[in-house]
Amino acid sequence: MTMMLPDANGDMSRCTPGVHHPHAGTSYDGKMADLESPEVEWARRLLAGDAGAFTPFVESFQSKVFQYTWLMCAQREDAEEVAQDTLVKVFESFDQLRDPRLVKAWVFRIAKNYCLMKRRRSVFAPERELSLDELMPGPDSDGLALAGRVPDQAALPEAQMLQAELGHELHAALSELPESYRSVVLLRDVEELTTAEAAQVLDLSQDVVKQRLHRGRLALRKRLAGYLNNEGGKGV
């Protein structure tokens, strides 16, 4: 399997208001990160025959693939089997990884395929489409006045409890997303793949990835807003 570079445009003329995370080598800005992620470094060393990179590479991707599959399929046994099958395939075809910088997209592409085989139906055929109309807030709904009600993780006195509740609600909301949206949200917002990488993993255009990501995020926000509203007096 030979992969193209995630973003051949290299367009640096984008604005970056951003939702950035402090993880090295990753960003939400849709561009290749300037800093090399640990996974890229391990892949580079493995291609050079460095056995010291084997264990961290395996442990990192076993965990990432397990999580991705677990959130996609909600079956622990399936997730562990897919993670294992993915790693076997990765190493069996490691000589086909032409560019270590592409390792995350390459591994997740393999994982996605095993996930599909496990589920025996395509993530490319969503059960339903999410329309912007249904995600647009109404004039009297939670709508446009929600800001500040989603808990800031660090600022609330009940932060731990709220975090647990919010995490539970997020998992529930994610599981209710159609698969095609769920996979995009997971790859972009959880695993921090770029738009280009997610497009390669899912065999979609970048425009479709952006559209599904936005609608998926809006659906999660809407679900979260309802939860917070129902909680009423918590003041979050």
Partner: protein, 99 residues
């Protein structure tokens, strides 16, 4: 959309310019808009509290998704025979590469 326009109608979901911004907020947050499109959105939200509120709520949800969903659940360690299989496959791949 300047503050000097007192006759401006109320913003909100029925406002076409708000809908236009609403449709592109993820791209805005991801820094995937051109500078011109970015400036257009920023000009709008500078004077549109409902859109600012929605933008902040979306940003909070994205951050929550990352921080809460990215807490990797524990998976069982790979069995020793699987690890050996992976190493053997890696060595074979290196041989094919001529490393």
């Amino acid at each position: 959309m300047k503050n000097s326009e007192p006759e401006r109608p109320a913003h909100g979901p029925a406002d076409a310019s708000c809908v236009e911004v609403f449709e592109r907020l993820s791209e805005y947050l991801d820094g995937e808009l051109t500078p011109a499109d970015c400036a257009h959105i920023e000009e709008h939200i500078r004077d549109c509290p409902p859109c600012v509120a929605f933008l902040e709520s979306l940003r909070s949800c994205i951050r929550a998704s990352h921080s809460l969903l990215a807490e990797h659940p524990a998976s069982r360690p790979l069995p020793e025979d699987v690890c050996e299989k992976l190493k053997a496959a890696w060595q074979a791949a290196l041989q094919r590469l001529g490393a």
